[in-house]
C-alpha cells in the first residue's frame, strides 16, 4: 500500500453515546485534528470531556456518528495493525511473566514462539528490564509495569501510537523518568503519536503540538505548536523560560474550560 496523506486525520467528527437509561450524550462535536507523520501530539482538556473518545475513534473500537477518521488517507474500518495503544490502567496479563507479556503481540500476529521471544528479549533489554524476564507483573513496581507495557506496545512497531494518560498513576519522579524513556523510544521508532493527558506540563514537555479541548461535548478550542528543541530532558525543560511562557498561555485558555467542566459537574450533582 502506498500511503498518502497525514498519519491521522479526524474531520468534523461527532460521536454520541446512548446511556443505559436511553439518553443521548454527545462526547465529541465537530472535532477536527491532523497528526503529521512522526509528529507528537498531546491532547489536554478537563476531566471527562471526551479525550479518550478521540483515541477510541482512531483505533476503530468506536465509530463516529458523523465525520471521517482516516489513517494515512484511508478510512478506518477496523483495528489497524499499525496501531499501538498504551492504557491508563494496568492492561498487562497478570498470568504471564514479563517475557510472555512482551511477546504477546507478535504471537497474536502469528509469529513463532522462538522468534517472538527473541524479539521480546530485545525490547525488554531496551526498557532495561532484562533481569526481570521471568517476573510476573505483581512482582514489579508501577514504573516497571509501565516499562513492560511500553515494550509490549513498541514490539509491534506501530506507525501510530496512542497513549491514554499512561503515566497518571505513577509518582512524580517515576513519571518524569518514563516520559524521557517514551521520548527515546519514540525518536527511534518515528511513530506518529496522540498522547492524552490532563497534565498540561507533561503535554508541553513531550509534544510538538498541544490540542486544548473544551468541556464536554468536546471540540478543539485551540492548537499550540510547541517549538522547543529536541532531544528534550523533561525534568530540565520545565525551567526553560520558553516552556514557562507556553504553560502560562495555554493554562490561561485551559482554565476556563476546567472551570466550566467543574460547574457542569456541580450542576449535574
Amino acid at each position: 500500500m502506498i500511503a498518502a496523506g497525514p498519519a491521522i486525520e479526524l474531520v468534523d467528527v461527532t460521536r454520541r453515546f446512548v446511556t443505559p437509561d436511553a439518553k443521548v450524550m454527545t462526547a465529541l462535536r465537530d472535532f477536527s485534528m491532523t497528526v503529521k507523520r512522526g509528529e507528537f501530539t498531546c491532547v489536554v482538556g478537563p476531566t471527562g470531556c471526551g479525550k479518550s473518545t478521540t483515541l477510541n475513534l482512531v483505533t476503530g473500537l468506536a465509530r463516529p456518528n458523523q465525520g471521517d477518521v482516516r489513517l494515512f488517507g484511508q478510512p478506518v474500518t477496523g483495528i489497524s495493525r499499525d496501531i499501538g495503544f498504551v492504557f491508563q490502567a494496568d492492561a498487562l496479563f497478570p498470568w504471564r511473566n514479563v517475557l510472555d507479556n512482551v511477546a504477546a503481540g507478535p504471537m497474536f500476529r502469528g509469529a513463532g514462539k522462538a522468534e517472538a521471544h527473541d524479539k521480546a528479549r530485545d525490547w525488554i533489554a531496551r526498557v532495561g528490564l532484562s533481569r526481570f524476564e521471568k517476573h510476573y507483573p505483581h512482582q514489579l513496581s508501577g514504573g516497571m509495569r509501565k516499562r513492560v507495557a511500553l515494550a509490549q506496545t513498541f514490539i509491534n512497531q506501530p506507525k501510530i501510537l496512542l497513549l491514554d494518560e499512561p503515566f497518571s498513576a505513577l509518582d512524580i519522579q517515576t513519571r518524569t523518568l518514563m516520559q524521557d524513556e517514551l521520548l527515546d523510544l519514540w525518536s527511534e521508532a518515528g511513530a506518529s503519536v496522540i498522547f492524552v493527558t490532563h497534565d498540561l506540563e507533561e503535554a508541553i514537555a513531550l509534544a510538538d503540538k498541544v490540542y486544548v479541548l473544551t468541556a464536554g461535548p468536546a471540540t478543539v478550542k485551540a492548537v499550540y505548536t510547541i517549538d522547543l528543541p529536541r532531544p528534550r530532558v523533561t525534568a530540565e525543560i520545565r525551567y526553560d523560560p520558553a516552556f514557562i511562557d507556553y504553560a502560562r498561555t495555554i493554562w490561561g485558555n485551559l482554565r476556563e474550560e476546567v472551570q466550566r467542566s467543574h460547574n457542569q459537574a456541580s450542576a449535574a450533582a
Partner: protein, 289 residues
C-alpha cells in the same frame, strides 16, 4: 492479644535484627504448637466425651453409635468385607461415579459458562432458565434418573453431573463477565483474534473463579453419587448407608460417613495441588501471622 502485647513492648534484650528474627521465629513456632495442641484437645474431648457418655449410659449407642463401635465397624468392613462384598469395591464404585460426574459436570459447566459469558444475546436469553434450574432442589432429580437410567452407574453419574454443572457454570460465567475490559482491548489492539482473546485473556482470568467452584462442587458430586446410591443401587458406599439404616445399625451409618470424609479430603487435597500449579502467577496472599 499476645501478638499485640509483643509488638508494643519488645523486651529490652531484642536489639539486633538477628535476635529479632530469632524471636519472631520462636513466636511463630510457639503459636503453631498452640494451634495443634488445641485441635488435638478438641478431638479428644469430643470423641472421649461421646465414648464416655455411651459407657456411662448417658447416650444410647443404639441410636447415636459410639466412637469405639464405629471404629469396630470400619475394622470389620476392612478385614472381613461388607454384606455387599469387599469394602474397597464399594469405595471404588462410589469414587468412580463421583469422579465421572465431577469431570463431565465441570467440563460442561466451564464450556457453557464461557460460551454464554462471551455472548450477550445467549446470556440474556438463557439467564432466566438458569436461575430457575438453579433454584430447583436438584437432588430430587435422582428419582427420575433411577427410573430412566436404572440401578447401575449411569443414574448416579447423571445426578452428580447435575449437581456439579450449575455451580461450575455460574462461576465460569461470572468469571468471564468480570474479565478486565482494558485487558481485552489491549489484546485486541496487540492483534488477537476473538478466539485468541478467549484463550489468552478470558479463560485465564476466569480461572480463579472456576477453580474456586471446583472445590465446592466436588463435595456436590459426592453428595450426588451417594444420594443416587441411597435411592437405589447394587453397590457403593451410599448403599452401605441405606443397608445400615435398614438394620438400625447406627455405627454402620457413621462408619460410612467417615469413609466418605476421608475420600473427600484426599480429593480436596489433590484439587488444591492442581490449583496451586495452575495459578502460580497469583500474588501470595498476605498472611496475618
Amino acid at each position: 492479644m499476645s501478638v499485640i502485647g509483643q509488638t508494643l513492648d519488645p523486651p529490652a534484650t531484642l536489639t539486633s535484627p538477628s535476635s529479632l528474627e530469632i524471636a519472631a521465629r520462636h513466636a511463630s513456632r510457639r503459636r503453631r504448637q498452640v494451634v495443634i495442641t488445641a485441635r488435638l484437645a478438641i478431638l479428644v474431648v469430643v470423641l472421649g466425651g461421646w465414648e464416655l457418655g455411651t459407657r456411662l449410659g448417658l447416650i444410647d449407642p443404639f441410636f447415636f453409635a459410639s466412637p469405639s463401635g464405629i471404629a469396630d465397624q470400619v475394622w470389620t468392613w476392612v478385614t472381613e468385607g461388607t454384606s455387599q462384598g469387599p469394602l474397597w469395591e464399594q469405595v471404588v464404585v462410589t469414587l468412580e461415579e463421583t469422579l465421572l460426574g465431577f469431570f463431565i459436570g465441570a467440563v460442561g459447566g466451564v464450556v457453557c459458562g464461557i460460551v454464554l459469558g462471551r455472548n450477550k444475546l445467549l446470556a440474556d436469553i438463557f439467564s432466566t432458565y438458569i436461575k430457575v434450574a438453579n433454584s430447583i432442589p436438584r437432588v430430587v432429580l435422582g428419582s427420575i434418573f433411577i427410573i430412566a437410567l436404572g440401578l447401575g452407574m449411569a443414574s448416579k453419574v447423571a445426578l452428580a453431573v447435575v449437581m456439579v454443572f450449575f455451580v461450575v457454570f455460574a462461576n465460569a460465567f461470572q468469571g468471564v463477565r468480570e474479565a478486565d475490559r482494558a485487558m481485552i482491548a489491549n489484546a485486541q489492539i496487540l492483534g488477537a483474534s476473538s478466539f485468541q482473546i478467549t484463550r489468552a485473556v478470558i479463560i485465564p482470568s476466569a480461572m480463579s473463579w472456576i477453580l474456586a467452584s471446583l472445590h465446592v462442587s466436588f463435595g456436590f458430586a459426592l453428595v450426588g453419587a451417594v444420594v443416587g446410591e441411597f435411592l437405589g443401587a447394587k453397590k457403593g458406599v451410599g448403599l452401605l448407608i441405606s443397608t445400615a439404616q435398614g438394620s438400625f445399625n447406627a455405627n454402620g451409618v457413621f462408619a460410612a460417613m467417615v469413609i466418605l470424609a476421608v475420600l473427600a479430603l484426599v480429593v480436596e487435597g489433590i484439587i488444591t495441588i492442581v490449583e496451586n500449579r495452575l495459578v502460580k502467577w497469583r500474588p501470595v496472599p498476605f498472611d496475618g501471622h
